[in-house]
Symmetry: C3
Subunit: 289 residues, 3 copies
């Protein structure tokens, strides 16, 4: 737990609970164009937070759907050419409407198509939030190509030792892209160009299931839609919410439980999360020296 | 619980348990062309009822698959142009073979493509059952465009107050389309052109997971394949079965359980459901004045 | 349990635990081109074993992904023409790199497209392992077209009575294709051209969920990547691991549990499996007379 005076200086008092309650109160519709591996978990994670998911990737369908939603989540986990075209049309529409757009560059650095597509969206549309692991972020920044598939490469893991340098990197990416940047892992970093915070929540078990990152990107869409006028706080709240839910889930694990049960408990944890629990358990501190 | 004399007059005695047992005994193969969000739940729901799922949407594959199955389920939740063509070929084949076709118009009213595609199938093929929420049904009937994404719009919710009018609407849709109509929500309505029944089962938690509706459409395919000669009773039985399973699932919820656990319990509830439980707990009454 | 002297003669001592530990130690990246019904389960099953999944089917993406992975799994459960082209490019790349390729011919025999596609891959690429049910295997061998959708046809079930004949058939398929052949069902057979073993593990509940077979094919990719120099033992170990995990899962079933819970417990069982449990519970014997 960070010193609470420090935590208060990083976020408005009760900002975390207010952000969560805004989602639960406004039930934002979130348009997801996402991979078919974890799409069911993304939908249930959005419902667990109080939001309402709509998945649509067909170019002929996406503009109508974007138009009725409050935000757009683009996840390139199982890209195909038809979906990319759907993403373009949806992103153009969301940009035009001023909706938050969350980009999850799954596997950027692992293939040319993924790296190029992520860059195309960063450069060509109004991306509001980027959420990925450090290897993906480095690939986007042109700094590395060491992505280990969809996992972070060992040399890219954010540690206490490299936290200050990692935070500075996150701020540079935020400055270059104009987006709030969320780099998640054992320590999570959320940065805009002015400030970076470190969030120390979650459980190593989150890496034992597919979809922890995708679910976080999806719910970030809900928090961003509900809290568009305080976007950085909304992203911090989404990251902290997923982390606290992960801790609750880890705490429930029994001796026979493995990643099947953890997946269930993680959704349960999000579903049961309230503002008070989030305020109590969130561990947010400056990521800077 | 409706008065049992009334219930007896609405369905043959033991029709509910007979319909369920027909599914368990005949293990119908059900061809599903369905969205990628809830497809796994649909497959497991069919298996939980004793049926066998096959998913196939490729135009070059669907006719062979339709040919070996007992029914076809068309769910437009994540439409794309390739899938629509697969749906056309499968629907033509199923119509030719006289197989029941269940249409789930997910998000009709939310986009032009969804509304037009649902209408195309309703008008052009032998759709046997339509299963959706009231907003989707109104969109199909040209009466409204207030669908809230894939959820029912607040003004469209079926209530005790509007039940008679909603039932009359369901009968008109049935008369116009020749299909058995299932409009599901807090109160479910199943109608053909002659009669409408109201089914008061289920749990509000069913709206907290993605896929309750999709799963119901899928198992309706199984009940329709097994009970093609008493289709209305088969649809009532499927709707009641899902509702009772939802009640059983809600009853199991512990203090830490959320929508992750509910999803598991719902499948478990379907799996363990037998004819006696279904007869005992189903709450079926006339939906008319 | 087979006589342990016999078991020892069929596999090197501790080969099972060594194969599992190789997966857990080396964390192989497994490229899966698989159906959208069970893809989430496949990803979580790979993670449960200690491997890392990457799903990619887009022709423009697959070669890069194959290039960074240790093996390739091709599952034709929801074939479409775009995916087939992705499979071709990935299979060519994996063949060129000498990576193990696992083919799961889901529904071969149920449609011309599935049978032809499975045959195309068997004939045109370096398929290393084929994993399917007996109906699918017979369809591939041109011996039958009695596949009951994606399930084995009743007349094709491997029994104690036809085990010797079934094993001989498996060896012939192995000889013709050059692949290790895994025919799974109530009794599993793993064969190369020289020898066939019978594995008597698992639970009838495995047929009550979608994806038991797909998950096994996926983890076979992990075991094959980690144990490429003793491929037959690696496949036996994967089949036994899934069977033992199924037994552990079945043992956990409570009175209200159905296939929803079983699915969770099966992943948990894989996650918690260690070499000692696998050695103790695996039931491996000769499949030949």
């Amino acid at each position: 737990m960070a010193d609470s005076a420090e935590q208060a200086s990083l976020m408005e008092p009760l900002a975390l609970s207010r952000c969560l309650e805004q989602v639960r109160k406004t039930t934002p519709l979130v348009h997801c164009i996402t991979n078919y591996v974890t799409v069911n978990d993304c939908a249930n994670a959005l419902l667990a937070c109080g939001a309402s998911p709509i998945m649509s990737d067909e170019p002929l369908d996406v503009e109508d759907i974007t138009g009725i939603c409050g935000s757009l989540v683009l996840n390139i986990g199982t890209l195909n050419t038809g979906t990319i075209e759907g993403m373009r049309l949806a992103a153009a529409k969301a940009t035009e409407l001023g909706h938050p757009i969350i980009l999850d560059p799954v596997g950027a650095g692992a293939s040319a198509l993924r790296s190029e597509t992520a860059s195309e969206f960063l450069d060509g549309y109004g991306i509001t939030v980027i959420r990925g692991n450090m290897s993906e972020m480095k690939a986007l920044a042109g700094a590395s190509a060491s992505t280990r598939g969809v996992d972070v490469a060992p040399e890219d893991v954010v540690t206490e030792e490299n936290l200050a340098a990692s935070s500075a990197f996150a701020k540079r990416v935020a400055a270059r892209t104009g987006a709030v940047v969320a780099i998640t892992g054992a320590i999570d970093i959320v940065a805009d160009e002015a400030r970076a915070v470190a969030i120390r929540n979650g459980s190593p078990l989150m890496a034992s299931i597919t979809g922890s990152g995708c679910m976080l990107s999806a719910i970030t869409g809900a928090f961003a839609a509900a809290g568009q006028d305080h976007l950085r706080d909304a992203v911090i709240s989404a990251v902290a919410a997923m982390g606290v839910a992960g801790e609750v889930a880890a705490h429930r694990m029994g001796p026979a439980d493995g990643n099947g049960s953890f997946r269930t408990y993680l959704l349960d944890g999000l579903f049961k999360l309230d503002g008070a629990m989030l305020e109590t358990h969130a561990n947010i501190a400056s990521g800077e020296e």
